[in-house]
């Protein structure tokens, strides 16, 4: 009897140790990676670096064009992908009948989320760059990226909408609200925090992607800030990738500095989204 008890306790203890090791090993790896990058690049992050265009001299090279390219692209992607993604989720959850067709669409969206990003690059090249003749513009890049992150947004938004209790909808209907009024005044506000979580994840993916942009021919040397959505552009990951592959070790340090900037942009963006999410979280409690 005692023997069985101690064996069960031993198993529990082993599991606890495995779980602890898993957590800490990933944290330690993250710390080592960040530490390594900070060590290499922190001294290079300064105003010259942020405010200069690329150069063959490492001490003069900067990432102004890449920062602005990334910001432009993210803003456009948000404008394009969020409304479409959320609307699609609303349709699938609130309007579409649960039949074979909607099941088929559902499965396909889930599959699309797992398609390698380079495939979206090929699609973007064929459709946006060549067919619609958008050239290698910000618009073509943003549309491609939007395609890439749409499945993620749709799935997250659907989950969030699904989590809104049915009683809320029924209550709204009971006092005579139309379906649109119900969605707009009850379901959507209640689902906002969940939708935002999905958008944060999706946008974080968009800011770090390189492969589809290289595929559609986003550029590496750009010595101007894009002024409108038809301008050619470069982004932070592309610039970092180029510096890493240079023979001179000074450029590798610049790449580390670029990674730090990319991290800061990413964290700022996520922090903003989390703030918005928390604000709306407080409003609705059941």
């Amino acid at each position: 009897m005692n023997d069985i008890l101690s064996r069960r306790k031993l198993k529990a203890e082993i599991f606890r140790i495995i779980a602890t090791i898993s957590t800490w090993s990933s944290i330690i790896i993250l710390i080592i990676l960040l530490g390594n990058i900070a060590w290499d690049g922190l001294s290079k992050v300064n105003w010259t670096f942020l405010n200069n265009f690329p150069s063959r001299f490492p001490h003069k090279a900067g990432i102004k064009a890449a920062i602005w390219g990334s910001i432009w692209m993210l803003a456009l992607v948000a404008i394009i992908a969020v409304p479409i993604g959320v609307s699609a989720a609303i349709y699938l959850e609130e309007y579409a009948k649960k039949n074979k067709l909607s099941r088929f669409i559902e499965i396909n969206i889930a599959n699309l989320a797992g398609v390698p990003s380079i495939i979206y690059g090929i699609l973007g090249l064929t459709i946006f760059v060549r067919f619609f003749q958008l050239d290698r513009s910000l618009l073509a890049g943003s549309l491609t990226m939007s395609l890439l992150i749409l499945p993620v947004i749709i799935m997250a938004a659907r989950e969030a909408i699904k989590a809104v209790p049915k009683s809320i909808r029924l209550g709204a209907f009971a006092v005579g609200a139309t379906r649109w009024q119900t969605i707009q005044s009850h379901v959507l506000p209640a689902a906002t925090p969940g939708i935002f979580t999905g958008v944060i994840l999706a946008m974080s993916r968009a800011i770090g992607e390189t492969a589809p942009l290289i595929m559609i021919g986003a550029l590496t040397y750009v010595a101007f800030v894009p002024e409108n959505i038809n301008d050619p552009f470069t982004t932070l990951p592309i610039q970092i990738y180029n510096w890493v592959s240079r023979p001179q070790v000074e450029f590798h340090h610049l790449a580390a500095a670029g990674i730090i900037v990319l991290l800061v942009v990413l964290l700022t963006m996520n922090a903003a989204a989390i703030l918005i999410r928390n604000r709306s979280l407080k409003k609705y409690k059941w």
Partner: protein
Amino acid sequence: MKQFIITLITITFATLLVNCGGDSAKTSSANTLSGTVKIDGSSTVFPITEAVAEEFGKLYPKVRVTVGISGTGGGFKKYSIGETDINDASRPIKDKEIKKANENQIEFIELPVAYDGLSVVVNKNNSWLDYLTVNELHNIWKPGSQVHYWNDIRSNWPRKEIKLYGPGTDSGTFDYFTDAINGKSQSCRSDFTKSEDDNVLVQGVAGDTYALGFFGFAYYKENTDKLKIVPIDDGNGPISPSMESINNGTYSPLSRPIFIYVNPESLKRPEVDKFVEFYLAETYKLSEEVGYVGLPESLTKDIQQKYKTRSTGKWYSQK
């Protein structure tokens, strides 16, 4: 939040409308010259083109020069449908690429801009190797090669497994090396470590006493403390790659020219014309700054002449 999104959308459409005005009038005087020069192609040529674009930008700040790195072949695909004005190429244009371009009525002016010396390197601790002949290199790299140990090359070398490193099969560097050593581009043994990133090859050879690899001269020059260069003997004694031996052609057969291919149609736009002119004038100085070797003076004159007369088609790479 709603207000914010509406503002964003308004701004977007406003910029869209403004942009419909299109390119403003192009004037040809020095610093009012404007327009765009679109370049794509080899990542090997990129550092030179970037340097030229940087210097050009100081003289003509309103001209937008953009450079991509789709690789030599990927760049030619864009060039041959008229998407770019200039293609950077680390190897001569191929016949099927010429055919593709001709189908779209696109011609090209072939302009060599610098030399690159493909460097064969071994680990710093490799004490036995003094040089390799072209024939030995061929035996190592030929398809179905039987060289697995160092003493398969010369019998007095150690019986240790040889680890081979080389660039990926899509790169112009691989094309050139296999053509020069094995007589046919892309013909090569396949059991070696490949990477598109030359820094990975440097790390690989630097970390393994029994390694042998090859890549562009610039990557050797930046890592002379970690690598040992292999002099190559093509019948006239072993020669190491250096600025001098690559420039005067004695480092043979692994010194290769790198090119830009220019669309003569694009040259009707003054900004492209000025850019190429500037490129040819500055490439000697700038290519050495970024780790390549300038062309000999006699050749430079020929190139300027070809450019001035706008003579299209292959000429240099045919020799």
